[in-house]
C-alpha cells in the first residue's frame, strides 16, 4: 500500500516539475527572441571527439546584431588563417591555403527566418526542453538547458545560456553515432564596437570563388542505400594502404547526377573515393603536391581516387574495388592491408 506521505510529496513536487519544464521553455524562447539583438566578440574553442580521435579549433568570433557574423580561425594549423564572414546576405569562407573563397547563401539569415517557427514549436510543446540547472560561466550566471532531437539521427544539444543576454556561452552536442562536439567561449565582450569592414570579405587577388562546400556528411548505411538504387551496390576497396581508416561518407552532385564520396584518413594523409556515373576517358595524374588522381570505369560506375598515395598505389586500390554482387548484403569493415605508404 502506498503511504499517504509519499502521495503528498509527489503531489507537491508535480507542479514544481511542470514549472521547471515551463521555465526551460521560457528560457529557450527568450534566448531565441534576444539572439538577433545582441552583439558580442570573443575567443572561442571547439573540441570534436569522434571514433577515439580528438580535434580542436580556436577562433575569434564577432557577432553584430541583427545578422552579421565573423569567425577567424587561429588553430589548428590546417584551419589557421581561414576566415568566415556571413553578412546577412551571403556567407563566404576564405581558404588561403587553396587560394579559394567558398560562397553560399547566408546561413545566419536562413536561421533567423525560422525563429518564429521554432518559438511556436516550443510554445506548443513540440520540442522537449529540459532544465538541467543553474550555473556560472565566465563569472556570468547561466541557465543550462538540454534539447532533445527532433529526429532519431539528430544530436542532443545542451546549452549554457547567459542570463542577461540569452547568448549560448557553451554548446555541447552528442550524436547517436558517438560524435561529440563542445564549443565554449573562453572570453567574451558584449556590445563591442564592430565596423562594417569586419563583415566584408573581398575576394583577394588570385583567389577563385567556388560554390560552398557541397559534400553533405551521411551515414555509411545511407551511402549504401543510395548506391544500391543508383548502381546496384556500393563499390568499396578491399585493399587500402596500411593505416588508412574509413572516417566518413558524403553525398554531393555534379550536373544533377549523384556522387558519393568515402573518406579515408591516416594522420595527415587523406584518401577520397568518389563514385559517380561513368563518363569520359579515365584520367590519371598528379594534379598538385600531395594530390594524385586515378580514375577507373567499373561498368556503369566511374571510380575516382584522390589523395596522397602515389598513382601506382591508387591503381592498386582501384583494382581491388568491385560492386557487391548481392544488393543488401552488409559491407565488411575495410581492413587496412597492403604496402605501407
Amino acid at each position: 500500500m502506498i503511504r499517504p506521505s509519499l502521495i503528498a510529496t509527489a503531489l507537491l513536487l508535480l507542479p514544481a516539475l511542470s514549472l521547471s519544464a515551463q521555465d526551460a521553455r521560457d528560457v529557450m524562447i527568450r534566448s531565441l527572441a534576444q539572439e538577433s539583438r545582441v552583439s558580442y566578440a570573443g575567443y572561442q574553442t571547439t573540441v570534436v571527439t569522434e571514433g577515439g580521435k580528438v580535434r580542436r579549433a580556436a577562433q575569434i568570433v564577432k557577432r553584430r546584431a541583427p545578422d552579421k557574423l565573423r569567425i577567424e580561425y587561429l588553430a589548428p594549423q590546417r584551419l589557421k588563417g581561414e576566415l568566415v564572414v556571413d553578412d546577412g546576405t551571403r556567407l563566404r569562407r576564405s581558404i588561403p591555403a587553396l587560394r579559394v573563397v567558398e560562397e553560399g547563401p547566408s546561413r545566419l539569415h536562413r536561421s533567423l527566418e525560422r525563429h518564429q517557427n521554432r518559438i511556436r514549436d516550443l510554445r506548443e510543446g513540440k520540442r522537449t526542453v529540459t532544465l538541467i540547472g543553474e550555473g556560472s560561466l565566465l563569472n556570468r550566471p547561466v541557465t543550462i538547458v538540454q534539447l532533445s532531437p527532433s529526429k532519431p539521427d539528430r544530436p542532443t544539444r545542451t546549452l549554457w545560456l547567459d542570463h542577461a543576454t540569452g547568448v549560448a556561452l557553451r554548446v555541447e552536442e552528442k550524436s547517436p553515432g558517438g560524435r561529440t562536439s563542445v564549443t565554449s567561449f573562453a572570453r567574451i565582450t558584449f556590445d563591442p564596437v564592430l565596423g562594417d569592414a569586419e563583415f566584408r570579405l573581398d575576394l583577394p587577388s588570385g583567389f577563385t570563388v567556388v560554390p560552398a562546400h557541397m559534400g553533405r556528411p551521411i551515414s555509411l548505411q545511407r551511402a549504401q542505400q543510395i548506391a544500391r538504387g543508383q548502381w546496384g551496390g556500393l563499390p568499396m576497396p578491399s585493399l587500402v594502404p596500411a593505416g588508412f581508416v574509413l572516417t566518413s561518407a558524403h553525398q554531393l552532385s555534379f550536373h544533377e547526377h549523384p556522387v558519393l564520396a568515402l573518406r579515408y584518413t591516416r594522420g595527415r594523409d587523406d584518401l577520397s573515393l568518389f563514385i559517380s556515373d561513368s563518363a569520359g576517358e579515365p584520367f590519371t595524374a598528379p594534379v598538385q603536391p600531395r594530390v594524385n588522381v586515378y580514375q577507373r570505369p567499373l561498368g556503369r560506375v566511374l571510380i575516382t581516387l584522390v589523395g596522397t598515395p602515389s598513382t601506382a598505389q591508387l591503381a592498386q586500390i582501384a583494382a581491388s574495388i568491385a560492386i557487391p554482387s548481392q544488393p543488401g548484403s552488409p559491407q565488411l569493415p575495410v581492413v587496412s592491408r597492403g604496402s605501407a605508404h
Binding site: S36, Q44, T46, V48, A57, V61, R63, L69, I71, Y73, R78, L79, V84, D86, R93, I95, L98, V100, R107, L108, S111, R114, H115, R127, L147, P149, P155, R157, L159, G166, A168, E173, T183, V210, M214, G215, P217, S248, H250, A261, T265, D270, S272, F274, S276, G280, E281, F283, T284, A285, V287, V291, V293, Y294, Q295, T304, V306, T311, A312, A315
Partner: protein, 196 residues
C-alpha cells in the same frame, strides 16, 4: 589513327562523323542545357556511349562552361549602353562588298555598319562540310590512347576531376568549420534546420 579513333577505316569514320557524330555534336549544347526532348536526349546518350570522340567533345564543352562560370562577374556602368551607341555612331562606315543580292548591311540601320554581309551561296553550301572536315581532322589528331595504369595523363583534368579534387581538399577543414558555424548560429540552438 582512324583505327585508334573508331576502330574503322577512314571512309567509315568520315561517314560516321558526317552523319551521326555531326548530328550529335550539334546537339551537345542543348544537351548540356537540358533542353533536348526526351527522345533526342536518349538518342544522344546512346551515341555517346559508343563514341569516344563525341564524349571528348562533350567534356570539352563542359570544361568551357565551367571556365566561363568561374569568371568574375562585372557590373556594367549605368551609361554603358549610351556610351556604346555613341561610339558606334562615330565609327567610319565599312566598305560594302560588290554583291548582286541584298545584304543585311543594306537593310540594317545606318548605325550598324559593323554587320558583315552574308557569305555567297556557294560558300554557305560548302561551309558546314568544310567545318565537319576540320572537326574530323582535329578529332583524329587529338585522339590519344588511354593512359596505361599508373602512367601520368598529360591532358587537362576535366571539370569533374577538378571538382572532386577540390572536394577532397576542402572536406577536412569543412567538417570542423561546419560544426563551429552551426554552434555559432545562435538562432539554431535546436540544431535541426541548417544542417539539412
Amino acid at each position: 589513327m582512324a583505327a585508334a579513333c573508331c576502330g574503322e577505316s577512314w571512309l567509315i569514320m568520315w561517314n560516321r562523323i558526317s552523319w551521326k557524330c555531326g548530328g550529335t555534336t550539334r546537339c551537345l549544347g542543348e544537351y548540356l542545357d537540358g533542353t533536348l526532348s526526351r527522345r533526342r536526349r536518349h538518342a544522344v546518350e546512346a551515341h555517346l556511349r559508343g563514341c569516344g570522340a563525341c564524349r571528348r567533345e562533350l567534356e570539352s564543352l563542359r570544361r568551357t562552361l565551367v571556365l566561363l562560370s568561374d569568371l568574375p562577374r562585372r557590373e556594367l556602368s549605368d551609361n554603358f549602353e549610351a556610351a556604346l551607341q555613341a561610339r558606334l555612331a562615330g565609327m567610319p562606315p565599312t566598305r560594302r562588298p560588290a554583291q548582286p543580292w541584298l545584304s543585311l548591311s543594306r537593310l540594317a540601320p545606318s548605325s550598324a555598319p559593323y554587320l558583315r554581309a552574308p557569305m555567297p551561296s556557294e560558300t554557305r553550301r560548302w561551309a558546314p562540310l568544310g567545318a565537319l572536315a576540320f572537326v574530323a581532322g582535329a578529332l583524329a589528331v587529338w585522339n590519344v590512347q588511354p593512359p596505361s595504369s599508373g602512367s601520368p595523363d598529360h591532358r587537362q583534368p576535366s571539370a569533374y576531376v577538378r571538382m572532386v579534387v577540390r572536394e577532397h581538399q576542402l572536406t577536412p577543414g569543412a567538417d570542423m568549420n561546419s560544426t563551429v558555424v552551426s554552434h555559432n548560429l545562435g538562432g539554431d540552438p535546436l540544431g535541426d534546420g541548417d544542417d539539412e
